[in-house]
């Protein structure tokens, strides 16, 4: 993992929506003003409450964004993978991070300096426009999650958590087994339910042959039904 070479931003093959359409000069400027780090699985990239120094961009890896509650219970707010950026809202508003970002696997992450990002935002209408598009999408995603958490029944929420994992992590070579080893507790943290309820619901799905449980592995056997359940209470 440590051997991966992170390329110059001008030739990076990640399809980063935020940097899409930027000029080669801007990309070169980013390259000259970024640091590169490897975060091991479980390592925190930034903590809730800390102030940002720059913008994180994932070259290779997976990251979860979460908040810890009063009794130490975690709520996973989002995931991010290759080509996605982290920490831009705190940077834009010059305020502390609203949540904690943790590497879910060994991850290669670039950190663009605050000045380089903010200077480019001032001079590139393309980056500003991309930023608004990204934030608009983030807002809709969070609104949908809020609606789901407050109004969706438990089974539908677990089905939704599984479809989120499917989209975010994909499958192993068999095309059925989720390519992640998230614990039942973490799946519950996505769905906003307790670990016990998550275990019980997954077990029901297993009996109904919607999924197959094998140790920590989860295989999705009936994606159509799971997707239908996940969307059952959504309007758009």
């Amino acid at each position: 993992m440590n051997d991966i070479a992170i390329p110059n931003c001008t030739i990076c093959d990640n399809q980063n929506k935020l940097f899409c359409g930027l000029t080669p000069d801007h990309r070169e400027y980013f390259s000259q003003n970024k640091g590169k780090n490897v975060y091991m699985k479980g390592q925190v990239i930034y903590y809730e409450g800390n102030y940002p120094n720059g913008l994180f961009c994932i070259f290779r890896g997976k990251v979860k964004i979460s908040k810890i509650g009063q009794e130490g219970k975690e709520q996973i707010l989002n995931f991010a993978g290759n080509g996605e950026t982290l920490g831009y809202r705190a940077l834009l508003n010059d305020e502390p991070y609203n949540a904690t970002a943790t590497a879910m696997e060994d991850s290669h992450i670039c950190q663009l300096s605050r000045n380089a990002f903010m200077n480019t935002l001032d001079t590139s209408s393309c980056l500003s426009r991309n930023m608004i598009e990204l934030l608009s999408k983030d807002l809709k995603d969070s609104e949908r999650r809020l609606m789901n958490l407050s109004q969706k029944p438990v089974k539908e929420r677990v089905a939704e958590a599984l479809t989120i994992l499917m989209k975010q992590f994909g499958f192993k070579e068999d095309g059925k087994t989720l390519d992640t080893t998230l614990t039942r507790r973490e799946i519950g943290e996505i769905a906003g339910i307790t670990t016990e309820t998550t275990i019980r619901t997954l077990s029901e799905f297993n009996k109904e042959k919607l999924i197959k449980l094998e140790d920590k592995k989860i295989s999705l056997l009936d994606i159509k039904t799971l997707t239908h359940m996940a969307r059952a209470y959504e309007l758009n």
């Binding site: 707010l77 608004i132 809020l146 407050s150």
Partner: protein, 220 residues
């Protein structure tokens, strides 16, 4: 604080000059409905709007819009063809200026300050929504009330006051607090009275005064 207010009034003047005059809309007017095709963009000059989304069981208020906001833009930027929410005028009335999509996008291209303002407002809305997601499953109602009042204070541009650890004025109604925090009328009243007895805040007509931000925050 003064700079923010001046900035908002500069934009208001620009928009009124270019696209005005503003039109008054009565309370209860729906600017657009959820699932309707995207039409014009609205700029809120005066008054207040509530943005609602319907769910399987009941509708949910996503946020309250304040003067200086463009209404109906989020679906424009994520390439949806329809509005994802309904916008309704609340209070006595609201003054709004209508812009067509193309004119709005041109305005953005030529005014980076407006782009920045929209960016900051979007960030605040996401923060509120994430706070509500988190609160709904992890926070006590006491913490939910504190978070909601702090958010509303920030929406009223009290950011600079908060940082200097002085008084915060939260312009809101009890219904707004209840809608955003998900705390029903009775426990909300009980908690507000408790906070008042402990000198954490003072409830006045259509506003709440928080004497000491740090002390209020630590009451969670």
């Amino acid at each position: 604080m003064r700079n923010i207010m001046r900035f908002v009034s500069d934009i208001q003047k620009l928009i009124e000059d270019q696209f005005g005059p503003a039109k008054k809309y009565a309370s209860g007017t729906l600017l657009f409905n959820e699932d309707e095709p995207l039409g014009e963009i609205f700029y809120l000059l005066e008054g207040q709007m509530k943005i609602i989304r319907s769910g399987p069981n009941k509708e949910m208020i996503l946020w309250y819009s304040e003067p200086g906001e463009f209404i109906g833009i989020s679906s424009l930027f994520d390439n949806s063809q329809v509005h994802s929410s309904t916008a309704e005028v609340i209070g006595s009335s609201a003054s709004l200026v209508k812009l067509d999509k193309k004119a709005f996008l041109n305005l953005l291209e030529t005014h980076s300050d407006i782009q920045k303002d929209i960016t900051k407002r979007l960030c605040r809305k996401i923060k509120l929504t994430e706070m509500r997601i988190f609160s709904s499953s992890h926070q006590s109602i006491r913490a939910r009330l504190i978070d909601t009042l702090i958010f509303l204070a920030q929406q009223n541009h009290n950011e600079s006051i908060k940082k200097s650890n002085k008084t915060m004025i939260v312009k809101c109604t009890e219904k707004m607090i209840s809608d955003l925090s998900g705390i029903s009328h009775k426990p909300l009243n009980k908690l507000l009275s408790e906070f008042e007895i402990n000198n954490l805040l003072r409830v006045e007509e259509s506003q709440i005064i928080i004497g000491d931000y740090e002390r209020f925050l630590s009451a969670k």
